[in-house]
Symmetry: C2
Subunit: 113 residues, 2 copies
């Protein structure tokens, strides 16, 4: 999938992570489900390893929203796009937010295969 | 304005306030500006007392989103619709969220006249 994309994967620096964008990103149940599934995994997980309740193009949209908001770090390894939660950056910038969202938010079921 | 509306003003009970809806509500700069302007005012403030950077119908939409998410308490007094932040309910349900949003979120300028 990654090989079909063009352009670099852009990420906001820690100090540029914007709370409004993070809250908008985490307010979607599928996106929060993705974050919940990836949180605590200390390595990149390929998109294709996540069982999502949406189609491919919607999934790509959700991953992009999460990356552009500063919630996910994405990198391409060969043809696979890897994903990791920017837990340290988010905790440093907005202490408690991610834990609050994961504890109380509405999550769609997402499994790591 | 209130007299033109039909139907009762519905509010979620404290235990039914949904984090995803609250985050979505607070992720909009105008809505966060409204909350920021009203927070700390211990009485209802009429919609018409707020100077908003949007038109009337957009403003009505924002107030409704905030009420339905559980962020604002609205009540009609004569022809005026009064608004108050549900600070105690929000703090009880999601401790720290409102303070985090007001401290770090992007707010449009909103003044109470």
């Amino acid at each position: 999938m990654a090989s079909r994309r063009s352009g670099p994967l852009t990420h906001p620096d820690q100090q540029d992570i914007d709370l409004s964008r993070v809250m908008a990103a985490l307010s979607d149940p599928v996106r929060l489900g993705i974050v919940s599934a990836l949180d605590g995994i200390d390595r990149g997980v390929p998109c294709c390893s996540l069982e999502l309740p949406v189609g491919k193009s919607t999934a790509s949209h959700h991953f992009r929203v999460l990356r552009e908001a500063g919630v996910l770090l994405q990198s391409d390894e060969g043809t696979r796009r890897m994903n990791q939660v920017r837990r340290a950056d988010l905790d440093a910038r907005f202490p408690g937010l991610l834990d609050l969202a994961l504890a109380h938010g509405r999550e769609a079921p997402v499994q790591v295969r």
